[in-house]
């Protein structure tokens, strides 16, 4: 169990993109609890705008969404010089074998399958972020 006193995501700006209200709420609650600044969006298009406007440190996104799905959003983000360096973690209920590879090919950092356990997910998330060179300094401070 996480130590709640430790605000492990303090100072992080996170963009959450998911059309499932419960999923979004769980992520918001979790991220908020650990001190992150949260931008929540319900489809890829809104997510894309937020990514350009709000400059998040990382993005957690669902795949199946109306208007613009997660794949399209990731492609658009990676095509844009301004947003292409933002790490993306895919969080999806799609269990097909091809998806993990697809996420990797599009440049996402990780593909996490729903349902997720918040504490396990947080651990995975921190592990992924700590491996990224652009965040090395943030993790070194500890």
């Amino acid at each position: 169990m996480m130590q709640k006193t430790e605000k492990q995501l303090a100072g992080w700006r996170v963009l959450l993109v998911d059309n499932d209200a419960n999923s979004l709420d769980i992520l918001e609650t979790l991220m908020h609890f650990y001190g992150a600044v949260i931008f929540s969006k319900i489809n890829g298009e809104e997510g894309l705008q937020s990514a350009r406007h709000d400059k998040p440190d990382f993005i957690i996104t669902d795949i199946s969404m109306p208007v613009m799905d997660g794949w399209e959003m990731i492609k658009a983000l990676k095509d844009d010089a301004e947003t292409q360096t933002i790490p993306i973690i895919v969080l999806s209920a799609h269990a097909m074998a091809g998806n993990q590879e697809m996420a990797k090919n599009l440049g996402a950092e990780a593909y996490v399958l729903k349902p997720f356990h918040p504490s396990t997910f947080l651990g995975e998330l921190l592990a992924v972020l700590s491996r990224l060179p652009q965040f090395a300094s943030r993790f070194d401070k500890r």
Partner: protein
């Protein structure tokens, strides 16, 4: 009986010898169409000529009449045999019944009887006189002789008629040999007419008829060597040609039809007699350029569609050139095969395959959707319980914490169930692809051990790993699917063992296989249950008791299906209260180090 040498007697004698030689020559051609009647024809001719020769050599009128009478045995046989030969040769062997033979035998027998008894009734010849010094007797023929003559002519006429008909019908290729045969058959006729009419260039006492037949024999013999007459009877070809299901048309160099078979006539809806002589333009209306299009091509093999009575039919067309000896194209054969049904069948098969593919795709899509739709609400359940357990939602009391723990457990069980059902459905739908890649066995087994060691430690169980040294370092294996099998068996072992140890053993099994053995010191499986534990939703349970261990009842079913998909098998040995051993046997596919460079 007195004989005197007569130079005229030599002519029929030579004829007799030649006829006999021909008989022997043709006899060696058996089996062949018309060989037997032809040989008999030649022998009868030889007999006739021999008797004729002896007749001419005889001195007294009695001797001459005797041999003239004996000659009739040959004479009567010749026309009958000529007809039988032609019938056989032109493929009318179905006419050659016992009835035909009896009918054809009546006249010869009657004539021989009448001739030999002529002195009693004089119905064949009235009087025979022999002038002093003459070689031949003078016969005053009576009415029955003329009846016999007309009858013989009729038989020969019919025979010649059939040959002419065959000539008309046969492709040019066979015309030469039929021309020769017709000439051969006409020769005795002409000779006989010359003899009886007194127009013969020879002395009128020499019967030219056997000489005529000799011409028949010689032309036939020539045909035999020139055209291999008995070997390839044209009529046999004609029969094959006509009985072919494919439509065949033979065109000459000017693209006019020379020959068609019955299928072609049926296809073009005209009798073959009307088709012969027509040009390709007339025949292939709408396809008029059919031949000219291929004029310069050696051969063609393609498809085309044609409307017949408003029904579209598909034909495969094959054109082949006919060449003479100098390589000059003298015509073409066109073979049309109706492939409509074949095409239909192919299309139906294709449609069925598309349908099957579509069904498989829908099934796969359904599985994916089901998976997604079940995971989404489960995500809420496990997500919120997770947050509650973490204290993110605030402090909760023990009672609530207990309830949350139960919700979490049930949620996790539901997730396991969903995963297993979907896995099973995927294996059954053939949607699981086994991808065998070079895999480091020891590395893989170590990873299994690591994963299970947490579970085993929690229950205070000893976990032993054993890897046989003989096992190759690298084998071809589907790591993910093998791990699914091994972890299923290992977690089962932990689940059903309260104390003792779990042993994972990997070893070569015979030369062709390797095996994964998972042994535990657990509760064991009753003998009757060992029969069904690999079936779906079948778990070991007591009377009115829930399933032991809290599994989904699908784990072992998946293990078995996956093992089978890898051309392997799974078996169990168990004793109650002592423990169980599960053995998975799989084909051993070592990776050749030379090729992988490891």
């Amino acid at each position: 009986m007195n004989f005197a040498y007569s130079p005229y007697a030599l002519i029929p004698l030579i004829a007799a010898v030649i006829a006999a030689l021909l008989a022997i020559l043709i006899w060696s051609r058996r089996p062949g169409r018309g060989v037997v009647p032809f040989v008999i024809l030649m022998l009868a001719l030889s007999f006739w000529s021999t008797a004729n020769s002896l007749e001419l050599s005889g001195i007294t009128v009695e001797t001459k009449v005797l041999f003239a009478s004996i000659a009739y045995i040959g004479i009567v046989t010749v026309p009958a045999m000529a007809l039988i030969f032609v019938l056989d040769y032109t493929g009318r062997d179905s006419w050659l019944t016992r009835r035909t033979y009896i009918l054809l035998a009546i006249e010869p027998i009657l004539v021989v009887v009448l001739v030999s008894t002529n002195s009693l009734h004089h119905a064949f010849w009235l009087d025979v006189t022999l002038e002093s010094g003459a070689v031949s007797a003078d016969y005053e023929h009576a009415s029955l002789f003329w009846v016999h003559a007309v009858y013989s002519y009729l038989l020969l006429l019919v025979a010649a008629g059939f040959l002419v008909q065959a000539f008309v019908r046969s492709p040019q290729l066979y015309r030469g040999q039929i021309t020769l045969l017709v000439t051969g058959l006409l020769a005795p006729w002409i000779a006989n007419v010359l003899f009886l009419s007194g127009l013969s260039p020879f002395p009128d006492f020499i019967d030219l008829t056997p000489l005529g037949f000799l011409v028949t024999g010689l032309t036939t013999a020539y045909s035999l060597y020139r055209f291999r007459l008995m070997d390839i009877a044209p009529v046999a070809h004609h029969e094959i040609f006509n009985s072919m299901v494919d439509a065949v048309l033979v065109f000459d160099s000017k693209n006019r039809i020379v020959d068609v078979n019955q299928s072609a006539a049926k296809l073009l809806r005209l009798p073959s007699s009307q088709l012969i002589g027509k040009s390709s333009q007339e025949v292939f209306a709408g396809q008029s350029d059919l031949l000219s299009r291929y004029q310069d091509l050696e051969s063609v093999d393609e498809e085309f569609t044609a409307q017949t009575d408003g029904v579209t039919r598909i034909y495969q067309i094959r054109l082949s050139p006919l060449k003479d000896r100098s390589g000059q194209i003298t015509g073409r054969t066109v073979v049309l095969r109706d492939i409509t049904q074949l095409k239909d069948t192919n299309r139906e098969l294709q449609e069925a395959r598309i349908k099957a593919d579509e069904a498989a795709r829908l099934k796969s899509e359904f599985l994916a959707t089901m998976s997604h739709e079940l995971r989404t609400p489960l995500n809420s359940i496990l997500g919120y319980t997770g947050l509650l357990e973490m204290g993110v939602m605030g402090e909760i009391d023990d009672k609530v914490a207990h309830a949350v723990k139960r919700i979490d457990e049930s949620g996790n069980y539901l997730l396991l169930l969903i995963n297993n059902i979907l896995d099973l459905a995927k294996v059954e739908a053939g949607r699981i692809d086994i991808v065998e890649e070079p895999t480091d066995v020891r590395e893989m087994v170590a990873a299994w051990g690591e994963q299970v060691s947490v579970l085993a430690d929690n229950k205070g169980l000893d976990l032993k790993l054993s890897i046989q040294p003989e096992l190759p370092q690298k084998i071809y294996a589907d790591k993910d699917r093998l791990s699914q099998i091994a972890l299923n068996l290992l977690s089962n072992a932990v689940k059903f063992t309260e104390q003792g140890s779990i042993t994972l053993e990997v070893a070569v099994n015979g030369g062709q296989n390797w095996m994964i053995r998972v042994n535990d010191t657990g509760i064991g499986i009753p003998p009757d249950a060992q029969q069904y534990i690999f079936d779906e939703f079948r778990q070991v349970r007591g009377q009115d008791q829930p399933a032991i261990g809290g599994g989904t009842g699908l784990g072992l079913a998946i293990v078995r299906k996956l093992a089978n998909r890898m051309a392997g098998s799974v078996s169990v040995e168990s004793e109650l209260s002592k423990g169980s051993t599960f053995i998975v046997k799989l084909p051993l596919l070592p990776v050749d180090d030379m090729t992988t460079g490891t």
